[in-house]
Amino acid sequence: MNRLTILLGLGAVALLVAGLWMGLVQAPPDAVQGEVQRIMYLHVPSILTAYLAFTVVLVCSIGYLVRGTRGWDRLAHASAEVGVVFTAITLFTGSIWGKPTWGVWWTWDARLTGTAVLFLVYLGYLMLRSVVEDRDRAGRYAAVVGILGFVDVIFTHMAVTWFRTLHQPSSLQRGTIDTALQLPLYVNLLAFALLYATFVAGRVRLTALDEAIEAQGLRG
């Protein structure tokens, strides 16, 4: 790991510890839901980070299709992988939060379904990459899926306003969240963003090294 990745990682861990302490210990429990609501400090930052990740995939996909340089493709690939992990975290924490508040682990609500679709789209993206051996071709095909997949991200986010659903609309956007609950959320959000940057930086470096090995003919 290079110095930048280490710095990013240390920053992420420090902020995560602070954010979790603020959210799980210091912040007051929710007026209606009580202690259960504290899972929000993981659930909300993880989906927002996933959205960030897939936005990066979109930008890098366009960048790769226009410029054709490897850097764009490496970044898109890394970002998609990390985005899928954060989407999985969102689905898991949402499921754990759903059981005590809605009474079920899963429901076919528009937003939940949308997020599951998002997960499947980018799993398909990664699968497509894994079956195409030639890197340039894999990058080009994946970039097309990365751009189309983003249309689905928009669909997911709009789903709440277009359909009446069980899932509450974003509290941050409506401004209905109390300041005492807001601060730990923002700290965790920043922590997750740094964590994302750390993973992506590491993954990009790994791909670059892998390509260098291949270029020198050290692997068949």
Binding site: L65, V117, L120, V121, G124, M127, L128, V131, V132, R137, R140, Y141, A143, V144, V145, I147, L148, G149, V151, D152, F155, W162
Partner: protein, 225 residues
Amino acid sequence: MNFLALAAEILRKDLRIEARSREGVNTLLFFSALLVFLFRFALGPTEAEVRQGAPGLLWFAFILTGLWGVARTFQIERENDCLESFRLVPEGLGGIYLGKVLVGCCLMVATELMILAMFGLFFHLDLWVATAWLVPVLVLGTVGFVAIGTLFAAITAQLKAREVLLPLLLFPLVIPVLLPASRLTELALAGESFAAEPHWLRLLVVFDLVFLVLGYLTFPLVVED
């Protein structure tokens, strides 16, 4: 030859192949009949249950046969080593994309009408009241599905794992088209107007356009090597 003439030429060529070989049309006809037949066994002995699930079942059958249809439009080209010659077409690949979308739509709408007729016949669904609304919904849903299906069929035709990969990529992405299409089909079959829920029609048209434009723009990038 301009862009539209190229698309028309592709359409003419592919429809002629289908008309002469009849291999594809026969398979689709048999497969559709089999699907409709299976619905009865999957959903129990009463017709009412099948009729109730009709919109979903119909679209389920449409995407299964449609998947086969879009894959076929490129399978023909691959088998005859014509994918490479696409790259040499001086008018560019946009016209080829449009032509292939038209071919896919023709194959899929023809199959849909077949399935619909069989469905109406075997499960006593009154189709005549709904036709005026049903046909535009079928066409709009099909355009969205084929617009994106053609793009992915072009990608997967060049890969080894194409049979598995095409549905894996295609199905999650067509949900924004499938959802409004099946809901509008439900309204049409119930004889209700779309005015009560206008957002579904808007959603369907918007996604059709989005997928067509993105498909047109990115198709040359996945065929060129």
